[in-house]
C-alpha cells in the first residue's frame, strides 16, 4: 500500500510554470527523499499535498483518499513540518504541543504521555522557556514534535536540515530515522549526504518534473558501475589524460571516469605508467547520488 500517491500535478504562478507533471508514490514505512535544487518546487509540491495550495491539474491521494484544496486530508493522517516553522512565541513547548494535540482531538491523558514522550525524543524535555527565545534548531525540533503529535501515517518535512549546523543536522536525521518505526516520512532536501544516510526511496525534481524516482537500490542498480577518481600531481597532465579517455570528465582538478569497468581501470593505469604521469591518488568509488543528480540536471 502507498500512503501517498502524487500523479501528474501541475502548478503555475502567473506565467511561471513551477510544477509540470510531478508524479511519485511513497510506500508504507519508508523514508522518502525528495531532492531538488533551491526553487525547484519542493515546497510547492508539499503544500499541494497538504491542501494548502490549489493545483492546476493532477491528482493526489493520501492514505487512499483524494486530497483537495482547502481541506486537510483525513485528520490524523499527515503531520507537516514547514520549511520555516513559526509558532506562538508566548507559549512554551509543552503548552504548544498541548494546543496541537487538543486540536487534533486527543484525550487529555493520552496527550500527556504523548507530549512527554515527544519532548524527550526531540530533546526539549528540560526546556522551560517560551518559544520566543528558541534557536533555529530548537524550533525545528519542536516542529517535528508537533508534526508527530497525533501519530500520523505520513510525516512531511520540508528541508528540516538545511539551516542547521552538522550536529543539529545529525540530531534531526536521527529523530527522523527513529520516527520511521511509526510512520512514513517524506523529506525534501538539497543535501545529498542526508538522503544517502537515511532514505530508502528518492525522487529527483528538476524542471518541474520528477526526473527520477525509485528506491536507493534501484538507483544503485542503474548506476551499478563504479567510477574511477584520479588525483594527479601535475595539473597540466590532466589534458593528456582527458584526450585519451574522452568518456571522463574533469571536476575540481580531479579526473573522473564514470561507469568504469575492470578493463577501463587497467587501461587507465597502463596509460599512466606508459606516459610516466605521477599521481597522488587513484580511487574507485560507488556511483553516488551526486553523480546521478548531476546527470539528471544535465551538467
Amino acid at each position: 500500500m502507498n500512503v501517498l500517491e502524487v500523479k501528474e500535478i501541475k502548478k503555475s504562478f502567473g506565467s511561471k510554470k513551477v510544477l509540470d507533471g510531478v508524479s511519485f508514490s511513497v510506500p508504507d514505512n519508508c523514508i522518502f527523499g525528495f531532492i531538488g535544487r533551491n526553487g525547484a518546487g519542493k515546497t510547492t509540491t508539499m503544500r499541494a499535498i497538504l491542501g494548502l495550495l490549489k493545483t492546476d491539474g493532477g491528482e493526489i491521494n493520501v492514505c487512499g483518499e483524494r486530497a483537495r484544496y482547502g481541506c486537510t486530508p483525513k485528520s490524523g493522517c499527515i503531520g507537516y513540518l514547514p520549511d520555516v516553522p513559526e509558532f506562538y512565541g508566548y507559549m512554551n513547548a509543552h503548552e504548544y504541543l498541548k494546543l496541537c494535540g487538543e486540536i487534533s482531538g486527543m484525550g487529555s491523558s493520552e496527550l500527556k504521555t504523548r507530549i512527554s514522550e515527544l519532548l524527550e525524543l526531540v530533546g526539549l524535555d528540560k526546556e522551560k522557556h517560551r518559544i520566543k527565545g528558541y534557536s533555529r534548531g530548537m524550533k525545528q525540533r519542536l516542529g517535528i514534535a508537533q508534526a508527530m503529535i497525533n501519530r500520523p501515517k505520513l510525516l512531511i518535512c520540508d528541508e528540516p536540515t538545511s539551516a542547521l549546523d552538522p550536529v543539529g543536522r545529525k540530531d534531526i536525521l536521527d529523530i527522523i530515522s527513529a520516527a520511521k518505526e511509526q510512520t512514513s516520512v517524506v523529506f525534501s532536501t538539497h543535501i545529498l549526504s542526508d538522503v544517502e544516510r537515511i532514505c530508502s526511496c528518492v525522487a529527483f525534481l528538476e524542471g518541474g518534473k520528477t526526473a527520477f524516482s525509485g528506491s536507493l537500490e534501484e538507483i544503485r542498480a542503474v548506476r551499478g558501475n563504479t567510477a574511477l577518481e584520479l588525483t594527479i600531481v601535475e595539473p597540466n597532465d590532466i589534458e593528456r589524460i582527458s584526450s585519451a579517455f574522452p568518456d571522463g570528465r574533469v571536476n575540481d582538478g580531479k579526473f573522473i571516469l564514470p561507469q568504469a569497468s575492470e578493463k577501463d581501470c587497467a587501461d587507465l593505469m597502463a596509460f599512466l605508467s606508459a606516459q610516466m604521469i605521477p599521481i597522488a591518488r587513484l580511487e574507485r568509488r560507488e556511483a553516488d547520488l551526486e553523480d546521478l543528480f548531476m546527470e539528471v540536471i544535465g551538467k
Partner: protein
C-alpha cells in the same frame, strides 16, 4: 466546535500574555473614571480662569454641572477607546496568515471557520467587558456626585454604542478575510466609517446608517426616542452579521 473552544482558549492566553488585555482594560477603566472627573473639575477650571476673563471684561456666570456633562464626556471618549481597540486588533488575523503560525494547526484538521469565529469571539468579549466596565464606573460616579435621572435612556444609548463597536469589529473580520496586512484592514475599516458619515450628510438614508446610533446626546436630552433608532439598530445588526458570514467562505478560499 471543539476546535473553536481550543482556539478561544489560545486567543485568551494570547491577549493576556502579550499584555493587550491589560492595556485595554486599563484604558476602559481610566476613561470610565475620567468622564465624571472632568465634569466635576469644569467649574473649578472656570473659577481659576474667571480672573483672567474678568480682566478682559468678560463675566462668567457660575457654571452648573449635572450628570449630563459627565455623560457627554462619555460619548466624547468612547470613540477614542474604540479606535484604540480596533487598532490593537487590526492585525489579529493578518499577522497569523502572513507568519504562517496557523499552518501547523490547519494541517491537523482545524477548520478555518473556527479560526475566524474564535478571534471574533475574543474581540467581542474584550469590547463587551470593556464598555460595561467603562459604563458602570461612569454611571456610579455620576450618580454619586449628581443624579443620573436627569439623563434619559442611558442604557439604550450604551447598548447602541456597544452595537456600533460590534459593527466595527465585524468590519475587521470582513477586511481581514482578504487583506494582506493589519494596515490594510485598518484602512478598510476607516473607509467604511467615513463613507457612512459622508452618505449621512447629504442623504435621507441617514436614519438607517450605523453612525446614527452613535448620536447619544439627542437621546440623553430626550430629543429622540429609542424608536427613532430602531431602523439603524436593525441595519447595524444585520450588516455585522452579513460581514461575518461573508468572511467565512472568503477565508476558506484564501491562500494561507
Amino acid at each position: 466546535m471543539k476546535g473553536f473552544k481550543v482556539l478561544l482558549k489560545k486567543e485568551i492566553c494570547e491577549i493576556i500574555r502579550n499584555k493587550r488585555l491589560m492595556i485595554l482594560m486599563a484604558i476602559f477603566v481610566l476613561v470610565g473614571i475620567m468622564n465624571p472627573t472632568i465634569a466635576k473639575l469644569t467649574p473649578k477650571l472656570y473659577e481659576l480662569m474667571s480672573e483672567d476673563f474678568a480682566e478682559q471684561g468678560i463675566t462668567v456666570s457660575a457654571v452648573k454641572v449635572t450628570a449630563m456633562d459627565s455623560w457627554s464626556q462619555f460619548v466624547k471618549n468612547v470613540p477614542t477607546v474604540l479606535i484604540v481597540l480596533l487598532i490593537m486588533f487590526s492585525g489579529i488575523y493578518t499577522t497569523e496568515y502572513s507568519k504562517g503560525t496557523l499552518i501547523p494547526l490547519l494541517t491537523k484538521g482545524l477548520s478555518r471557520s473556527s479560526v475566524v469565529l474564535s478571534k471574533l469571539a475574543v474581540m467581542l468579549l474584550v469590547w463587551s467587558i470593556g464598555i460595561c466596565l467603562c459604563f458602570e464606573i461612569t454611571y456610579f460616579y455620576s450618580d454619586f456626585y449628581w443624579d443620573n435621572s436627569v439623563v434619559s435612556k442611558l442604557f439604550f444609548a450604551a447598548f447602541c454604542w456597544w452595537l456600533f463597536g460590534v459593527f466595527m469589529i465585524s468590519c475587521i473580520v470582513f477586511f481581514s478575510s482578504f487583506a494582506g496586512s493589519g494596515i490594510q484592514v485598518m484602512l478598510g475599516t476607516g473607509a467604511v466609517y467615513f463613507s457612512m458619515t459622508l452618505i449621512g450628510m447629504y442623504n435621507k438614508a441617514k436614519e438607517y446608517l450605523p453612525v446614527r446610533i452613535t448620536d447619544s446626546v439627542s437621546l440623553y436630552k430626550g430629543e429622540y426616542e429609542p424608536k427613532d433608532y430602531f431602523g439603524a439598530v436593525i441595519v447595524t445588526a444585520m450588516l455585522s452579521f452579513v460581514f461575518v458570514l461573508v468572511s467565512l467562505p472568503i477565508t476558506h478560499k484564501r491562500q494561507i
